[in-house]
Every structure is written in C-alpha cells, then in structure tokens.
C-alpha cells in the first residue's frame, strides 16, 4: 500500500473521529446484529456459533505447530500473499551496520536491542526471559524520568509525548552496539520467590523480578529514572485489533467505575504522528501506540536503530549526549532519505497486519466448556472482553467486518502493586496495564518452546499469570484461588484452547 493511500485512509479515519459519528461506517442494521453477536455467552453446554474462528475469515486452520503464528490471513488472495512473503522476508531480515553496499539492509543501530524483528518476536510469537548469564534480546528496559519543566508537563498533558526520556539514555536501554560503539549498558534481573497458597492448600511459587542497570557506558543515569521491563508480545491478530471501531472500545470504558462493579477500564490517549493529533492507544503493554504503522516505526527506531518515513532520525533512540551515536554513518537510502524506505516499511506493516490468529481447538470439549463458564462467571470477561466486530472500512479488505474473539478490551486497568512498574506512560499510571489479548495463548509453548507471560515474562505458566492479577482484578483472582483443583484444571483447559 502506498504512502499516499495510507494518508488518504488516515484522513478518512481522522474525519470519522472528529465528526464523532458513532457507527457511521456501518451499514443499516449492522448495530443490532453486532450487539447480538457480541453478547457474551450464557449457554455453556455447547460452543457458540463462529467460535472456531477467533479471527473471523482471517483465521488460520494450519497445523497447530511451531509455525502456527506465522500464517497469513486465510482470506487473503494468492496475489497479495506475494506481498505477505516479501514482508515476512523483511521481518526476518538481519540488518547490518552502515556503510554497507547493501543499502537497503544497512543502518543498524548504532545502538540496538535486536538485529531483526524476528529476533524478539520469535516465530511471530512472544519473547522470552533470558537464562542466567545470558544477554536478553526479546526483553528490554524502557526508561523515562518524571517531568521537571513546564514544557515537559505541557507536552505530557497535551499527549504530545507519552514519557519524558532519560536525558542521556533515551526511552529504552540498548544493550548491543555495532563495531566501534559501546552499548548503553546491561540489564540485571534478580528473582525472589513469592509463594501463594490456594484454598485447597496447593502452593504456587511466583517469581518476583527486580531490575537494575549496570555497566553504564555513557555516564550515570538520573537518580529518579524509572525502569519498566518489556517483553516482546505476540504478533497475531494486530491487524484485527487495529480494525475494531474506537466507539466499540470506548463503550467498555468506565474510568470512574460508574456501574460499581470494581472495574474501571480507561483508554490511553497517545500522539498519532501521521495524523498529528491525539488518538486512542491500542498497542504495546500500556497501549502506547495508536496503530500498527506507528508501533512498527517506533520499534524500528528504538529496537533496531533504523529510520523510517514516520521517524526519519537514523540514530534511533540516541540522545544528543550520545554524540558518537549521532555522528555515526547512517544507512539512509539516497532517494528515500531513510534506512527503511517506504516500500519496505509498507510491506512490513502489511505483513504485521495479516499475521493470522489460529483456529480454536477443543471448543466443544466438556472440560473446556466448564472452564469457559468459570472464566465468564468469575468476571474475567469484564476486561478480557470476548468478542468484537471489526469496522467495515479498514486498511485491508481481509480485516473488514469480521467477528473476532480477542479476549481483550484494549483498555488500561490498575493491576495492583505486585505488577506495578511505577512508570507512567501517557494516561497510564504506574500501576496500569492494557489488557492483553488471549487469543492464541494456548499455543505459546508449541510456537515458542517456552512460556513467559505478562509484561516481563515473569509468569511461567497461566496459573502464575492469574495469581499475579491484583488491583481491579483482585476479586476475580480470589475466585480462582478458592476453586477446586478440577475447576482450576477446567479453567486452564479453556485458556489452553484459545
């Protein structure tokens, strides 16, 4: 898709938001049908219609093996699959240092966290926690400092920026560098055991991580620096999440808990660089990015040190204080002026938008249905909202008007002290996180060869992930803690079938 097309679509979308015309893009009668089909189940004796297709017509029915997350939207034409495979190639491409004769592949860093998109989004799935002594790749630290000037406070208040970067090290700690440069530093992780006793006496030992930065190579960090560990999230279904109408997401928001159910989901507001205005945040662990293109461009910049049409600085996350980085040769394409020219950037975005959600397994299984009932009746669905219907007008036809089952409301929730990072991001406080989608989560082990859940991969299995829930989710977690073993097994079977 060309940049011009993107801008046209972006303008239409912007107009829709400005006019605040709810459901304006829908056909007559859509609203009722959508309301009916997205109503949460109340009958748990059988699977629901369409439940086997969590991605609607984009759902992949390929084998549930290590490649389960790397399939294109099933409703994609053969011709467009060519673009998908080229996008896949760019996603896997190892970027090299500039200057290099392979001008379309150089410009790495100079400071970076990974040399290819694939190196963090392993098999298009989530990242993993490093082994002791191993350098982390798919887990890194975000950095920021509290605002100290009026200008910074103003910028935060108007959503122009989501965080104030650490003055020397930027908004992310890059632990790798190209030849001749020094990495910013290293991340140190220490784990502490945190046993949790369930009602039936079972003890589950959670591991509580603490993070520090060591071996800093560019001087000290500000003493009030805030660190937030972030593991690479899975890539499946992001095109679909992008296509959920904003009104449908906002309909679940209840920032002041007006309905008194203890759940107070809030949208994040972030700066949309292409449209030059604030927008709903959807992507990232704190919903810090408005759409797939901006998420991708920020990742290219911060994680790999590559410039794109959206963020044309070739030095990525380097601050002015990091002079060597800023002065280093760049890999900018002579014509496009950026290291990832528009054609390549658009292909990666297209690829990302079309990574398909795998089909449900065992939706009919009695144990799975029993678990589904427990999930719904424990009110997990207050945040892990089961169903949405995507908009009719989308970037690509594959994502249009699909009934999807992401099990997320894409809103921010206070998850309690245990999970808090103390680092606000946009409207998100230091205790809030965006509800992550649960689709595909049961295939994590098959795809990734390991399971590392939550924002920093601390939870080694789904039960641990549940037991970390606190804050708004405390009540739901307590319901799980008092379940019998059979009930817990059923709940986990349900999650494993997603």
């Amino acid at each position: 898709m060309t940049e011009r097309h993107y801008r046209v679509v972006a303008t239409l979308a912007a107009a829709a938001i400005l006019l605040a015309a709810p459901l304006s893009a829908l056909a007559t009668g859509d609203a009722e049908r959508i309301a009916a089909v997205t109503r949460p189940a109340t009958d748990f004796t059988r699977a629901e219609d369409y439940e086997l297709n969590p991605g609607g017509k984009t759902t992949s029915f390929a084998a549930a093996d290590a490649d389960a997350f790397s399939q294109p939207s099933a409703n994609m034409s053969f011709g467009r699959r060519a673009d998908f495979t080229v996008g896949n190639g760019i996603f896997r491409k190892l970027w090299v240092s500039a200057p290099s004769s392979t001008q379309s592949s150089d410009g790495l860093g100079p400071l970076w966290n990974a040399r290819a998109c694939q190196n963090c989004h392993l098999k298009d799935g989530r990242g993993r926690v490093p082994e002791p002594g191993e350098d982390a790749v798919s887990l890194f630290l975000r950095l920021s400092v509290p605002p100290s000037t009026d200008a910074e406070r103003e910028a935060l208040a108007t959503h122009r920026i989501g965080v104030v970067p650490e003055p020397t090290y930027g908004s992310q700690l890059q632990t790798f560098s190209i030849q001749g440069h020094l990495a910013e530093g290293r991340m140190a992780i220490a784990y502490e055991d945190l046993p949790v006793t369930l009602a039936d006496g079972t003890v589950v030992t959670l591991r509580k991580p603490t993070y520090a930065v060591t071996d800093l190579n560019y001087g000290p960090m500000r003493p009030d620096v805030m660190l937030s560990p972030r593991i690479a999230p899975p890539m499946i279904g992001v095109g679909l999440l992008e296509a959920i109408p904003e009104e449908a997401i906002l309909a679940h928001a209840d920032p002041d808990d007006a309905d008194g159910d203890g759940i107070s989901g809030r949208p994040n507001r972030v700066w949309d660089v292409a449209k030059n205005m604030p927008a709903l945040g959807r992507f990232g662990w704190k919903a810090g990015e408005p759409d797939v293109a901006q998420q991708t461009a920020h990742a290219f910049a911060g994680d790999i040190g590559l410039s794109t049409p959206l963020f044309p600085a070739s030095w990525g996350d380097c601050m002015e204080a990091q002079a060597a980085c800023r002065d280093a040769p760049d890999g900018a394409d002579p014509e496009a002026g950026v290291e990832v020219p528009p054609a390549m950037f658009d292909l990666v975005v297209f690829y990302s938008r079309n990574l398909a959600v795998p089909a449900r397994r065992r939706a009919d299984d009695p144990q799975v249905l029993a678990g589904k009932q427990l999930f719904y009746e424990s009110q997990c669905i207050a945040c892990h909202v089961p169903k949405f219907v995507t908009a009719r007008k989308t970037h690509g036809p594959e994502q249009a008007f699909q009934l999807i089952w992401p099990y997320t409301d894409l809103l921010l929730h206070d998850m309690g002290e245990g999970l808090a990072d103390g680092r606000p991001e946009g409207q998100a406080s230091g205790r809030e996180w965006r509800t992550p989608p649960l689709w595909g989560i049961g295939l994590t082990d098959v795809v990734s060869g390991q399971t590392s859940y939550l924002h920093d991969g601390r939870a080694r299995n789904l039960l641990e992930a549940i037991l970390w829930h606190g804050g708004e989710a405390e009540a739901a977690k307590r319901k799980v803690m008092i379940m019998t073993k059979d009930q817990r097994d059923a709940l986990l079977a349900f999650l494993g079938s997603l």
């Binding site: 490649d67 998908f84 491409k93 190196n119 790749v137």
Partner: protein, 427 residues
C-alpha cells in the same frame, strides 16, 4: 530464522477445493523409494558442495601462500564453482529442520561488511575522518561490538563462531559464502553501472606491498571463514548419509509428512524466498546491491542453480559436478500415478522456469549484470527478471495442486458435534 514454509503451508492448503485422487495400492512402497531418492540427491548435492568447497579451500590457501593476480583469480573461480552445487541444495530448506537450523551459518545475507573489513565511505554520509569507518575485525585486535569488547588478536574459526553469538541469533552475518565472497571481491561500488567488486590482490600481499592495511589478518579471516564453511558443509553432508539425522527423520517418519516436506520446500523456495524476497524486493527497490552475490555479480547463477536444483529434486535426478548422475524415484512418479496431467504440467512449468532463468543467465553473461537488470528505468532488464518471478509464481500454483492431489493437506479443522456448521463464518 523463520522458515518460509509457514505461509507456504497455507497457500498449499488453499487448494483444498480440489478432490483428492485415489492412489493405487502399491503407492506406499513408492513413497519409501521417493524419500530415499530425495535423501540420496541431498547427500550428493551437499557432497558436491563440500568437494567444491575443499577446492576453494585449496585455492584460498594458495592465494595466502603466494598472493598474486593469478592466485586471486583462481580463488575467485573456485568460489564461483562452489556456488553451483550449493545453490541446488536450497530446495531442501523450508521443511527439513536440520537444514533450516544450519543454513544461516553458510549462506546468510546481507553480510555485515563493516564489521569484517574496510568499507567505502561513499555509502555513508559522515565525515572523512570518522574513525568508525575503520572499526572492523581485520583492522582491530580489540573491538567493541555487541555488548562487549571482543578479543580479536587472533582471527580463527572460534572467533568467527563467537561473532555469531552476539545478539543471541543463530544466523550469522559474518561467515559463510558471502563473507568469503566479500573478502575475495570487496564491495561493488559500481551501482547500476557495469562492474563488480574490485578488491586488489595486494590486499593479501605481504610486507610493504600490502594495501588497505592488515593483510595478514585479512588472510586469517579469509582462511578461518573458508575452513569453517568446509566444516559446516561436511557436517551437513553427513546428515544425509546412511544413518544421518536428516535422512533418518524422513525415512523413519510418516511417509506423507516426508512427501509434504518435499513439496513444501519446493513451494517455499519458489514463491516466498526466490520470487518474493530475493527477486521481487530487489526489483521493487531498484537497489543495485539487493542481490545475493552482490560482490561478485554472480546472482544470476545463484538464482539459476536454485531453479535447476528444484527441477532435480522434483524429478529425482541430479547431475553431479563430475557429470555422473544420481537418480531414483522422484515425487514425479507419485504425482503421475495420481494425476498424469498434473505431473506433465509440473514438468512443463519447471522447464519454463529453467528457460526463463537461462535467459537471465545468458543476459548476465553477454549484456549486463543482474544488478544492472534490476536498475531503475531499465525496462528490458527488469522484464527479464520479472519473467523468472512470474514463472516461479506459476510453478508454485502447480505445486499447490499437487499437495491436494496427493492428499497431503494437514487437516486440522476439528469437527464439532454441537455446531450445525463449524465452518460457518459471520458476515
């Protein structure tokens, strides 16, 4: 490294609408023979890659022992010859895990040129005195790279392997065919004009005749990279011998899974890797060095032998570098049993793709190099490359039909007793 078979599986499965043809009762025996031939051809191809790599190794040793125009040219010729069998093995990628996990060591691209040796400033936009242009392994006994300081006082196989570990990735940006190619030819600074890399042989000269500094270390790197590649190819050849892991995995596993691997590999290489990533992207970007053998301008041959190799695998017949043939029952036999017209179609399409690739090869040998063909504004050259892309795309559709015809689709749609129509979708 993610296999291309990911998307290929879904493409191949999209031919689900076609009926499964019934196979004759003796088909099961044919399957074992097909898998055995597939492994035999692999063993022969990798064996040839190994023997030609050893000849390259001898030529490299000769260049280092007696640097000169002749030994440089001989080493280059040996490298070009070594590519012929190796490229044919690429049809074994995208399905054989043993190959996929290893491939990055020997054929990864692009290469991190600036990490290895001196690079031209003309590609960068920074000042002439920037010391970072000289921060490479050949020129520096100690270099900060990755997250640490690397001790490069001796350049040997171990050092090069450890470069691979920086950044926790299996694929390498500093070893294999293209590292050796870079050290023999240097960067191609001609853009879309005629010409390839022009590294002078004096980059390996001893004493005062040495150009561009550190000739001894450059020679060390060249030798270490070549020796390492020979080791890697020897290892892979053994995997396809009797008792080797790659062969065993196929012949001892489910025959249909093996057949699926054969076709998935061919489909993925045709469509995703070659037509898509390697050819279409270069044409899209008009970036002259967006071509795999970018230093030697040998890309036309790399593509050509990829295509020849796929035909050999399909037919179960490989012509070795010494002219002898390794032949047996190719998957063509099974397809012919199930649907003779489909087999005829595949053979015709393979022939057509080889012909289109031969035309591209011919053009590169007589008129203009591959990197000129993909240049902006070169409609004629672009068309020759596009013709190969189109043929590869076309043959992929036939491979897709074969997967269906042989009943090889991995069926994962679970039935649901309680749903009226599990395949129903909301719209």
């Amino acid at each position: 490294m993610v296999p291309m078979m990911t998307w290929a599986k879904s493409i191949l499965m999209s031919g689900a609408a076609l009926a499964v043809a019934a196979l004759p009762a003796h088909a099961a025996a044919d399957k074992a023979a097909i898998l055995a031939t597939y492994a035999d051809v692999a063993h022969a191809m990798y064996g040839d890659a190994l023997s030609t790599a050893k000849e390259l190794q001898a030529a490299v040793d000769a260049l280092i022992a007696s640097p000169g125009e002749e030994t440089m040219n001989a080493a280059r010729a040996a490298w070009l010859a070594a590519r012929v069998p190796y490229q044919q093995t690429e049809g074994y990628r995208f399905g054989n895990a043993v190959v996929d996990d290893w491939e990055g060591k020997v054929n990864a691209w692009p290469l991190d040129e600036g990490l290895i040796d001196y690079v031209a400033e003309s590609y960068g936009t920074s000042s002439e005195d920037n010391p970072l242009y000289t921060a490479n392994i050949v020129a520096n006994a100690q270099i900060s790279f990755g997250g640490e300081t690397v001790d490069a006082s001796t350049i040997d196989k171990e050092l090069i392997q450890s470069l691979q570990e920086a950044g926790q990735i299996e694929a390498n940006v500093a070893t294999g065919y293209h590292a050796i190619e870079f050290l023999l030819w240097g960067q191609d600074l001609h853009g879309t004009e005629a010409g390839k890399g022009e590294r002078p042989w004096t980059d390996y000269a001893t004493g005062d005749a040495c150009t561009n500094g550190n000739c001894d270390r450059r020679a060390q790197y060249l030798k270490a990279a070549t020796d390492l590649m020979v080791d890697d190819l020897a290892w892979m050849t053994a995997q396809w011998a009797e008792g080797g892991e790659a062969r065993a995995g196929l012949v001892n596993g489910d025959p249909d899974a093996g057949l699926s691997t054969i076709l998935t590999g061919l489909g993925s290489l045709s469509y995703g890797e070659l037509a898509g990533e390697r050819m279409k992207l270069g044409l899209l970007l008009h970036d002259p060095e967006e071509e795999h053998d970018c230093f030697s301008d040998n890309t036309h041959n790399s593509h050509y032998y990829d295509i020849v190799g796929m035909q050999a695998i399909y037919l179960g017949s490989y012509t070795r570098v010494d002219g002898s043939k390794v032949e047996g029952t190719g998957i063509t036999a099974l397809v012919a049993e199930a649907d003779p017209a489909l087999d005829a179609e595949m053979r015709a399409k393979l022939d057509a793709t080889v012909a289109a690739a031969a035309a591209m090869k011919q053009r590169a040998e007589s008129t203009e190099a591959y990197d000129q063909m993909i240049g902006e504004g070169n409609d004629e050259g672009n068309a020759v490359v596009q013709a190969v892309i189109d043929a590869l795309t076309d043959q992929t559709r036939t491979i897709e039909k074969q997967v269906a015809a042989l009943g090889l689709q991995p069926i994962t749609i679970e039935g649901s007793d309680s749903l009226d129509d599990p395949a129903k979708v909301f719209e």
